[in-house]
Amino acid sequence: MIVIERLSKSFETKRRTAPHLALADISLTIADGEFVSVLGPSGCGKSTLLYIVGGFVQPSEGSVTVGGAPVTGPGPDRGPVFQEFALFPWKTVLGNVAYGLIEQGLGRAEAEAKARALIALVHLSGYENFYPKELSGGMKQRVAIARTLAYGPSILLMDEPFGALDAHTRTGLQNELLEIWERDRKTVLFVTHSVEEAVFLSDRVVVLTRSPGRIKAEVRIGLPRPRRRAELLVDRRYQTLVVDIERLMDRPEERP
């Protein structure tokens, strides 16, 4: 369980004026196995929220606990997947996916066997010996997902993972992500600015306000699982949720 309590984050600005407030007073609890999306306009601090949960960025105020233990830094219990892929370019696909396993002390043969299974899971069998530069964006993100799944985090932190991909690749990867998620139901914190993506994937959508990011609304997505894209697109409940959340995002913010 992830518990975020009264979290704020401000950054020092270069012009030495007042520090820029990126996130204000965020409190959010995410249950084990829950898929939660954080939705908001660009610059609302939603990625910063994810970085703080990951332990990559320190909060200015408030706290994050994971399974009761306060977050003090990055750890293999929380696996990040970034929009920029962030693959190791000097390693092959196999080397990238096996990296975390070897780091955890697994023997090379065992790590590579596990890595091959994960590469198959993300439909990249046959590309084990390719370097990242030889892959398309969608393939790179699949490698990144396999690399993170490899070391067995109980929580996935996904930072606009499909934001840099074209629409077709994007929907393909959304389907694959759901398939993978249905198997072991990891806790997922998913940051996006696409309403459809958030509704399609999530159990719950958290909408943030424009900068500084505050929680504007939380919407439970009660759509049945497993979800199929083709069925959802013609489903009234899905359409209503998308329209409602879009309206919610457009609504002017009341100042606290």
Binding site: F82, E84, A86, W90, Y131, G138, Y151, G172
Partner: protein, 261 residues
């Protein structure tokens, strides 16, 4: 015509070399300067120079000092550059120092260094070390600074601590840029090597060069210059082969593997 020539990568440089030699031969015959022997005379001197035990020992001395100076520079400069790239504090500490040292011609320090360390190997090696260190530090610094933050975060999530991240992530990620520094460093090492031997003549390629100049053995002078040129060429070619092997992963790829996503 040009397309056919390009099909043989060795041919254009050979033509250029032959042209240069022909021009040299012509100039020597036309101007008849005492200090400029014709190309064929210098070329004829080459086998004698390369068969001479004394000369070979001198060349070997040079190469040894260059290798030691270079290895020391690699061992010191790369870690300093990488640390500078990842820590603003380290960068703030070393930056003014490097800026002050950069414009100083390192060989010009030779007379001072000789006062400390004598005219032997130690002072020449130190001067080569200094000459090579700066481009290495600079490029390692640039490389480390450009390492994608998210890549380091991904490694941190896998459990790599700060030191391991520096060695296992920042170093390989900076390697293409470090190799740019190494290439510049190799040329500088060669230049500093010859200059240091000119100032402190005791042994080495520079020693042969300037002693023969003093004795007006111009054929030997030019043959030695050809040897130095060849050393530079061979070093660079060997280095390029090594670089192509080690950082092929960073070379831009013309085509993406396949059309699938």
């Amino acid at each position: 015509m040009s397309a056919r020539l390009a099909a043989y990568p060795g041919v254009p440089p050979l033509i250029a070399c032959a042209g240069l030699l022909a021009l040299w031969e012509l100039a020597a015959r036309v101007f008849q300067i005492g200090g400029l022997p014709p190309a064929h005379a210098a070329l004829a001197e080459l086998p004698r120079l390369l068969a001479d035990r004394e000369a070979l020992l001198n060349i070997l001395d040079s190469v040894r000092r260059m290798a030691v100076g270079f290895a020391l520079a690699l061992a010191c400069a790369v870690p300093v550059g990488l640390l500078m790239g990842r820590s603003r504090l380290v960068a703030a500490f070393f930056n003014p120092l490097l800026m002050a040292i950069y414009p100083v011609p390192k060989a010009a320090l030779m007379p001072i260094v000789m006062l400390w360390l004598g005219i032997g190997d130690a002072s020449k090696t130190l001067v080569i070390f200094l000459g090579v260190s700066l481009p290495l530090v600079y490029h390692a610094y640039q490389g480390a600074r450009a390492v994608e933050e998210k890549m380091l975060w991904s490694a941190a999530a896998m459990g790599l601590g700060a030191t391991r991240r520096l060695v296992r992530i920042v170093l390989p990620a900076s390697l293409p840029e470090i190799f740019v520094g190494i290439r510049t460093g190799l040329v500088l090492a060669l230049i500093t090597m010859v200059t240091s031997e000119m100032i402190a003549r005791q042994s080495g390629v520079g020693n042969i060069l300037f002693n023969s100049l003093d004795m007006a053995l111009y054929e030997t002078v030019y043959a030695t210059i050809l040897v130095i040129g060849a050393m530079g060429f061979l070093l660079d070619a060997a280095f390029e082969r090594l670089r192509a092997r080690l950082v092929a992963w960073a070379e831009p790829e013309r085509a993406i593997a396949v059309g699938t996503t």
